[in-house]
Subunit: 139 residues, 4 copies
């Protein structure tokens, strides 16, 4: 998690995200990781919908989240997302969620994804995906 | 809503269903209506998955819920479901949610559904569906 | 629903909002109504959190949604929200969800809300709320 | 994860749990972990609501899930839950999700929880909790 986390997207916590402890329910953070990942793909010039349109799917194979502070009702959270360049075969995204000003770390985590074709079989990451990642990571 | 509501299914409210007001978030009731509807179809001998396997889909076209009491964390709620026999073309289901003992009405509502084929076109309800409903309603 | 719907907020549909029919699951529309309502309150200069801080809660007492078109993955939807001026005692909000360009109506509906104090008792809408609404509706 | 996982609870996947890939959306597994944990506490004779009533809260501090197979619409999943006896201070629960027959492992994971008092401060696990866990683990 000492990578630069170059892409940022924000979201405002709604009532429906909270639970009776008065804070955002922990499962929702995985939704926010998805938001971060999706917007990062769009920023890369390769919206996730286009990846699927080309017959490639990236189902989540692992997810981890460390809850550091609490996200509260009506707070704006910022999701920072990057790609772990060390992972081949599949993909790994690292996330950090902060408050609106980026001063307080709310949560951090990652998701790992298989690269699959339309028949649900694991395949090598196709060249268009490898190249988009390479460009994004600035190599 | 003065129909008999002959089919019952139950569910226990989890933390993730609640919001910061300490009660179940209102959107979740539509999930519970789905649970009631699904179990009613299974009880009819026609699981919803089988309807889809036969190429028929029942997307929701309208949903209404009146929230009468509050469903709280860890309470068991009971969803009573029936079919409105007056509706032709599409389908309408009526729901009543009570506490575990059936003494307190928590909510009541309905959903209306289109009958569609796999291409997303509205079709006449197929005979296998009409017959299953007729048997269920005891006519 | 022939009112002007003066406040607009937008949201991008995520994977977690969709269901196996490939479209947004119907219960999520009530979350989007909440987003519209919340942003309208903020726009009125009276964020909902401030209403609660003053000891007033607005639990949903009824919700209705008519699903007209489908909201699909990665589409931006726009939630238009207004207040029904005819309703006294409680509050009623009308919603219209359109596509990003405002050309296609995706859904329309309303929610009704009780006005409650911190003990869960129904109260008359307090003056600060009545006045904020009056200003918003331009009277 | 080579512990016995002695407590089991089951759940049927609804339409609202699925996503457009046709399988259960990954964030929902954390809800199912909650169901497993909750039912295990009830089985221990110490429902989670009672823990809170005694002024102790167990917010999630970490969550991890490995997705091994897919949970599909209308399938019954079984959540097996146990407590990791090696963790002191906080609590750690291990989960395994299988199909209805227990033949196929669908997912596995864990959650870690802080032990907090009503003011949100981390405290030592109170004796009533330590004892309930000890009894459950058969020591």
């Amino acid at each position: 998690m000492d990578l630069d986390l170059p892409h940022k997207t924000s979201y405002r916590v709604i009532y429906g995200d909270t639970d009776k402890m008065g804070i955002a329910y922990h499962a929702n953070y995985l939704r926010w990781f998805e938001m971060g990942r999706t917007e990062m793909f769009r920023h890369m010039g390769l919206p996730y919908g286009e990846i699927e349109a080309r017959g490639i799917f990236l189902p989540v194979s692992e997810a981890y989240c460390k809850y550091i502070a609490s996200a509260r009702y009506d707070e704006v959270i910022v999701v920072e997302t990057t790609i772990d360049p060390a992972v081949r075969g599949g993909m790994k995204f690292d996330y950090r969620i902060t408050d609106e000003k980026g001063e307080k770390i709310v949560a951090a985590g990652y998701t790992k994804h298989a690269v699959m074709n339309g028949e649900g079989r694991v395949v090598r990451p196709p060249e268009f995906l490898v190249e988009a990642v390479r460009n994004f990571l600035g190599g």
